[in-house]
């Protein structure tokens, strides 16, 4: 019982995931500022923002569906937290590992987007509704490439369990080199999932104010914010587990540091992408995903199939 | 003969009654005073025949008994013809020039809102530039208007501060 509480509240639960989420947000913001030749925020800024939001009044719009409106941030938060239990962080095995947990992680990471949609839609504000519609359209665009890019390495490893995948790639480290294209695709899809420039279309500030989050304030917004931060870390951890499965037997201290470095490396790549591109339009984003990225992901799948055949012999 | 003189000559040839109404203030600036009755034909002639293809602005003036309107027409090469006309204050009706310049819409709405001119053939639309709850028959650019008229009648009516 104590063990379960420890896992939920401290590691890899609320405290670790939330804290690391804030650290990742700080790294993202500070790096972005540095890349843009600014000073950037001090280290406590994400935490200060969160405390400010928590201390503010919750406002529920009169016309909104109050139940859905208040429930959605909590669901988003819970879903991302749950995903942490299934991703191997610094060991070979995740906390809860079973055959097919890869699919579970991918679906758990889809839930926040659905909550953005529902929360925005039931806010009943024009900006929220446009933002909600955009986030669901965007979901259809990036989800297929993301699934394909994660499934190809899984197929090569011949398993749908993340933990077994890392075991496989630890044995065949050279095979990870094969998945570099998939890593790039997964990064692009992750940008779409986290709604960051160039794919921050659902919350494009200059067009629709804040998209789904326009009507959110106070604690509810704080839940969404921390959920997005945690989603960033969870997504980066997933990428680290699938595409960088090395150094997993270094022991708790070095292994943990290596894990942090891997995740922050992915976060740094995301913030670099944020600074060098302009925001695309939603039609351009769909074109990009379906015309270029999805076919390349299929190509990688075929390559992996062929390689698997060779390895099996 | 300079181009400005040429334009003056052409205008006088076509409309004889303008002979002493046109002055050339400096190079590229011609001022003409035209009667309201002949406004349409003179305007049509200057735009269509004399190639004054740019409407720079329309200025409204309060001239005491009359309201004055100056149409600042410009040619591509920088010559500006200022057509001044006026209408009596009790019936300040002018013709819209949006037929020639669709952009004149905003300038004419300014005349309507700020000076109380009447432009019957202006298409219906939101008012510009005054707020929607601006009291009727208050024309801020008229000389007899001042802020007190607005304060006493409209703004302070609901509650005392």
């Amino acid at each position: 019982m104590v063990n379960v509480l420890f896992h939920i509240l401290i590691f890899p639960g609320f405290l670790f995931a939330g804290g690391f989420g804030l650290v990742a947000e700080y790294v993202d913001r500070k790096l972005c500022a540095k890349l843009q030749n600014r000073i950037g925020p001090p280290w406590y800024q994400p935490l200060a923002d969160l405390i400010k939001l928590v201390s503010k009044q919750d406002m529920v719009p009169e016309q909104s569906d109050a139940t859905v409106f208040t429930l959605m941030p909590i669901i988003a938060f819970t879903a991302t937290l749950t995903a942490f239990f299934c991703i191997p962080l610094w060991q070979m095995r995740a906390l809860s590992s079973f055959s097919g947990d890869l699919i579970v992680v991918l679906y758990l990471l889809t839930i926040p987007t659905l909550t953005f949609f529902l929360g925005g839609w039931y806010s009943r504000s024009v900006f929220s509704m446009v933002g909600a519609a955009r986030s669901i359209i965007q979901l259809f665009a990036y989800e297929i490439p993301l699934f394909l890019s994660i499934l190809a390495p899984a197929m090569l490893a011949g398993t749908l369990s993340l933990s077994e995948m890392t075991v496989f790639y630890s044995k065949h480290p050279w095979l990870t080199m094969l998945n570099l294209i998939d890593f790039a695709i997964a990064l692009v899809a992750l940008l779409g999932k986290l709604e960051k420039t160039p794919f921050d279309i659902p919350e494009a500030e200059t067009e629709i104010v804040a998209g789904s989050f326009t009507e959110y304030s106070g604690r509810l917004l704080a839940f969404f914010r921390i959920a997005i931060d945690m989603e960033m870390v969870a997504g980066a951890s997933l990428l680290a587990a699938v595409f960088m499965p090395f150094g997993l037997s270094l022991g708790p201290v070095f292994g943990f540091i290596l894990y942090l470095v891997k995740v922050l490396f992915v976060v740094a790549l995301l913030s670099l992408a944020r600074t060098i591109f302009a925001r695309l339009r939603i039609d351009q984003m769909i074109n990009l995903c379906w015309k270029y990225i999805a076919p390349v992901a299929f190509l990688q799948l075929i390559i992996d199939l062929i390689v698997k055949g060779i390895v099996a012999q | 003969m300079s181009e400005e003189d040429n334009i003056k000559q052409q205008l006088i040839e076509k409309f004889g009654f303008l002979s002493d109404k046109i002055t050339i203030q400096r190079s590229r600036r011609i001022f003409a005073d035209i009667p309201l009755a002949n406004f349409s034909e003179i305007f049509d002639y200057t735009v269509r025949q004399l190639n004054f293809s740019i409407l720079a602005a329309i200025t409204g003036l309060d001239e005491g008994a009359t309201l004055g309107f100056i149409y600042h027409l410009a040619r591509e090469n920088g010559i500006v013809l200022n057509l001044h006309t006026n209408a009596p204050k009790d019936k300040p009706v002018i013709k819209s020039v949006t037929e020639y310049f669709p952009a004149a819409d905003a300038y004419e709405r300014e005349l309507v809102d700020l000076l109380g001119a009447q432009v019957p053939d202006l298409p219906k639309s939101d008012r510009y530039p005054l707020p929607d709850d601006w009291p009727a028959n208050q024309f801020p650019l008229r000389k007899d208007w001042n802020v007190e008229m607005l304060d006493k009648k409209e703004v302070n009516k609901n509650e005392k501060i």
């Binding site: 890349l35 024009v126 695309l280 | 720079a56």
Partner: protein, 409 residues
Amino acid sequence: MRRYDFKVPIGPQHPALKEPECFSLMLNGEKIEGMSVRLGYNHRGIEKACEAQTYIQDLYLIERVCGICSHSHATCFAQAVEEIAALEVPKRALYIRTLVAELERIHSHLLWLGVAGHEIGFDTLLMYTWRDREIVMDILAMLTGNRVNYSVNTIGGVRRDVSAEQIPQILKAVDSLEERTKYYIQVATEETTIIKRLSGVGIVSYDDAIRLGTVGPTARASGVERDIRRDDPYAAYGELTFNVITDKHCDVYGRTLVRVGELMESYKMIRQILANLPDGPIAVKAPRKIPAGQALSRYEAPRGEDVHYVKANGTDKPERVKVRAPTLANVQAVAHMLKDRYLADMPIVIAAIDPCFSCTDRLTSVRTPDNKTGNIMTWPALHSYSIDWYRRCGIDFSELNKKFRVPGN
């Protein structure tokens, strides 16, 4: 009007707009089916206020019509008054006016480039251009004292001279700005995501540009070769050689190219001005009472043609001052540009005319010389008013008030 699903109010408060105006978009999904524009939120009564003040006072009021093109409006007004008073402005003054005008154009266009970057979600471009804009802002501050409201004009000349030591500093700044501008031209013409967002958006054909009466870079990007600096030369422009930049793209991309092209021309012009800066006085004494007369003054502001009409009646106060700012001519083309486009194009299309709504609406500040009827409330009055308002709503704060005294200041 066609069928629409949403009506999205863009403004009076919206992140895409830096000033309050209202654009109502009728949306069918993401597509814009129709739109209506409501202007006038910034009406401050400047034209009326000008009639109650002397010419010298008006100069500073007119300067505050707009923050970014403050020099444009002040120069345009001063030119009109000087024409009525038949003042011979010294040549050096005209050159300094032109110098500040071109520096202002550089700062305005760099500002625009940054805003355009921000509107398409490219914040790095915003940060970089605004960083480089500081170079020209520093030069303006050095020349005139302040960064935005330069107040360099006076009736009959200018107030601040350019010293010999300042000239090499300006040239150095222009060199570094030119290098940066070349880089931005490269970025704008070679970065895929920028081109994707800008080209084919907000199209106004050559004929439409003329019909809708667009001015400035908006018109020039549609191939309309109009530039007051060349067509109706004022200040020292008659003695400078420069090209009028036009473009055939007719879209936002073309407007970007025109503006960066104009930046390069401005650098050229500043070098010419500084090389040929005449000696002599910088102002002539202007009479307080301006003789009766009227004048129309035109000026190519960074955003397009600025028109001022001044009528004098022989006193020290003008009879009528009329200001036609460039945005008023351009804003009516926005509805045309947005027809059948997407919601996502709205910010950049509105930004592409470089709107300055404080210029466009000029008139409802309640200002009286003795400040008797002004609606300014002091802090205690506002405080007691708010308590009163809540009490009428049935909420009494007096108990709380005893606990938390509002500080005296």
